[in-house]
Symmetry: D2
Subunit: 332 residues, 4 copies
């Protein structure tokens, strides 16, 4: 698997750091003849955009995407679609090079790997990279006509009653703390037969895709972790004869059996850890090996999971677009 690319036939590759001049991507393998313009991509970007609510980071990035290639007279041409967003609100002064390794962040592990690191805003490890996933995911949706992808936050800080979240988030913010979240993403309308056995199982690819989103620490398909507690007779999705093929009494499988879609909705859930950037001081060290407290004063979401939902949708779209094209390539 390439470090900065995702997918085989429908492939997204991204580049760019949080506070460099720009971030960008290319979408390789998008079929020709699909209608695409910047406004369409922008609509999805605006959903994950910071600065649109009290509980997401107030960093003001217009995040205006430019399409630089692969589209001619409003239609995709089959050649790579290059897209770019300039980083207009980069504030590199917020960040210092000899700052503490922020626990939960990639600061220490990047230094261990590369011996060098762009410290500005998390650099390549910043969640800002996910903007390009959303842009790529928007293109992927063009391939998925008839498929509905949606997502919702299921719980924040362990609480499933959404009416309490606002107060909880306010409290976390005022304490200089943050909250985790559980987010579900599903896709309906996926025909039976997409995916593959063994290593390119649709659930395996989805799990990798979701776990690649910053802050995700757990992924479930269908019954998920709960499947470990059930009996075989309880977990079985009984089948009935239907007019357009079999129907299912339940969807414990999350729409995937043996790595291949069953025609039922594909359901995946991910847990997002609480934002690692918090004001509360945490014991840490710096690159010089000195013990220093980490305390983040910058602009950060008290719950990154909220903005994770559109990113999960993007990854779902990318996985399905690739699965569709791979299926057509082998079995079409």
């Amino acid at each position: 698997m390439s470090v900065n690319s995702f997918g085989t036939l429908f492939r997204l590759s991204t580049w760019g750091e949080s506070h460099g001049p720009a971030i960008g991507c290319m979408v390789d393998g998008c079929p020709p003849g699909l209608e695409l313009d910047e406004a369409f991509v922008q609509r999805f970007l605006d959903q994950r955009r910071p600065g649109t609510g009290r509980n997401v980071s107030p960093r003001q990035e217009p995040d205006q995407v430019r399409i630089l290639s692969g589209v001619y007279e409003g239609k995709t041409t089959g050649t790579p679609i290059g897209m770019m967003i300039e980083n207009v609100d980069a504030r590199s002064k917020d960040y210092s090079k000899d700052a503490p390794y922020r626990p939960g962040h990639a600061d220490y592990s990047y230094d261990a790997k590369y011996g060098i690191r762009d410290p500005r805003g998390g650099g390549r490890a910043s969640a800002r990279e996910t903007a390009m996933r959303v842009a790529g995911g928007a293109v992927a949706r063009l391939v998925l006509e008839g498929i509905e992808i949606s997502s919702r936050v299921d719980a924040i800080g362990g609480e499933t009653d959404a009416s309490k979240w606002e107060a909880m988030l306010d409290a976390a913010r005022s304490e200089g703390d943050s909250l985790g979240a559980l987010v579900e993403c599903s896709a309906s309308g996926v025909p039976a037969g997409w995916g593959a056995p063994v290593y390119a199982k649709l659930d395996a690819v989805l799990a990798g895709a979701m776990m690649s989103i910053p802050a995700v620490k757990g992924v479930e398909i269908g019954e998920g972790l709960g499947a470990a507690d059930l009996k075989g007779s309880e977990n079985a999705d009984a089948m009935r004869a239907g007019e357009d093929g079999p129907t299912f009494d339940a969807n414990h499988s999350g729409g995937i059996a043996g790595g291949i879609s069953t025609g039922q909705p594909i359901v995946v859930r991910a847990s997002f850890k609480p934002t690692s950037s918090i004001r509360k001081p945490i014991a840490s060290v710096n690159a010089a090996g000195e013990e220093v407290e980490a305390s983040t004063r910058g602009r950060h979401d008290p719950c990154v999971g909220i903005r994770g939902a559109p990113v999960m949708e993007a990854m779902m779209a990318l996985v399905l677009a690739d699965a569709k094209q791979l299926h057509r390539g082998q079995c079409g």
Copy 2:
């Protein structure tokens, strides 16, 4: 991602159906000069072998592996290591082509994908394929000197008290039912710096690897699903200055930050659904669209999770061997 291959530089490719003449694999990219013989691989295969206990399938497969290439005078040569196990206990009479689609199995989805299917024992979708993962994982361990990989069953049927499992499994078997399980696998001794940002994150690759194991429906890294319930200050792994680099007060991250190893133990958990092959009848349909009850009379484990543990170890070894070589290739 290739359908039947796993890994980039250290790559396992497997072939073979449950009840065909043989199953096999090739390991591509193993470094030269490592000591390897069939007895070493066999040791790991014996751990996952059926027929070795009351609670695993009584199918008697000796599973004798043969190494057919890539080793000369007891050492790897750097060329692909071909391995094969002949299927000596194949009983194709246990299986019928116009049988019901077994709920939870890949029967229906395979037919939807390919329009054709080897029905003997689950064919390619059989867990028998995991024998070759274990063989490949054994080779991967050669690359991982100083790294300890272990696994344990954490819960069966929701019960964490292991002294009760035997009775629960007996009960499930006599009821013609089955139980799910939760299994943990960890690796200690992994140096900081393996893995990569963005799409080839070590946790993303691990999640895909574990979710590709038959019956797995959920994967957690470190704090996992529980991270959604914590506050940022609770989930932080505080760091201290140590003699050989920083130490950590906790390991909520499961040994991975920003997709790159931190030097702490890597901890991954997977939920295995209860065995789908049960004697209890489940409503289903067959390929002709007729409603028929599915009831499996063959030889099957009441809890596939038990045999999943060595397979998780194999996948952990494959992921880490590849991560080590990729790291050396880019940063070495």
Copy 3:
């Protein structure tokens, strides 16, 4: 690109050394439902088989292929097709470990790379590996209905008059020497539109495929090297309006323009160097750094190019099968 695999969607992976227990391969991504049995594959293997003429190596290998997976009741299932040939005529006594590095062979470069080498019969570097390319190529032809792949030796030792070849080969053999050859392979019936721009150009993939055949040192598409001597007006393939699309006055392009097939026959030529294994002594060194003469007494073809023709056909089939599936996957 994987070291021992070829192709993206239709992918051949091979393993095995010349004088190990067996050689084998897996074909991943073959579509389901195609008729396939061992006799079909065997027919192509017999074409490249040694021992069938005076001018090819007298080594007597029956080369009986076994299909071990991926076929059920005479049809491909879409799962990987494992194939194997046992090495029954391996004569390891012909080879010695402290022998000279044979000039033109991979002896020295393998040792430089791996620090270890299976010296029996060239090990992995032996042309014996091409038997599995031929087996894989046979499967690839199933995907290419309506496409005719053929090959012919154009010249031996610089002589294009075939009536003189027999005497030239006899002379070379009696002198303990060998001859090079020029071989052409073409495919007719390929529709316009296969291939891709930029890096996966059909001609680029073909060139890599042909150059990967042992002993090949040059590859030409269409006008090839000669294109360098022409004027643009001479090299242009003028087009005319035809009933089923445009027709061409010439085929200087070799059936490929901008990396994509034009509908004309695809024509590729390769030069095979003279067999490196000759009886005539050549100055060389051994692994200990001592100067020793290399002189090969074993069983070897005086002109490897003759047996290269069916291997070129196999590579052509593999390239086109993959190109067809990739095209269908992106544009289907």
Copy 4:
């Protein structure tokens, strides 16, 4: 192989059309800590730049490259290096959509593949894409300390005497015609042991790389096509004992044996067909199937091979950087 990417560990991906807003690329897998700035890349771009001589296209593109990511304080960070050149001199009015399919160009084959095409200046098929190869190749050179890559035009229009080329090119231009060329590229200082057996042979990868350059129709390694005319005893590179390992009496192999470097200079030659865009009218058809004459009046080189030399160097650098990192990953 990805359509718009090249390489495995050190990987270049490019996007952009000739007359779109910009062209760009990302280099993925470049090691960290190497000194890199825009001036360094620009130096190589200027070598291939149009408008710098009478015999290359007078199109005036400043081709000012911007590095947008992957470099921090003058050093590579190990994250993807995004680069971009804006197309400031795009003259889309030179091109018309219902123009004839230009023989030798990708016009017809693109339409056959995609059913849609960006006709402006050849779109994605334009040689302008090679600017990003040169940019990526510049980065690749950073990885290749101690290795000298050079190139030279060997022949133009079949003439090896360089003193006659100027007059020949003037004549071709005034006739509205063009000339082919033969270009050689070599790399010295490559250690023995890079490359791989079988499918990722260094010569196979090089052949694919060179054949992917627009207008290339033939590729030779070492003795190349001429090897077909030699005897084994003539083609052998005899070896002698040297102080730092063996030395060779000749380099018929072009520095590669069995797909692996021998330590001798790597020598590859490519034939460039004459520029397809010529003023002389050629019979052709257009998208409507009407017979129309093609005659190119735009700005074009009379011999594209001249500008192919720096592109060959770039591809050589990309191949070797990847080979180095792959070797280190498996055998390091």
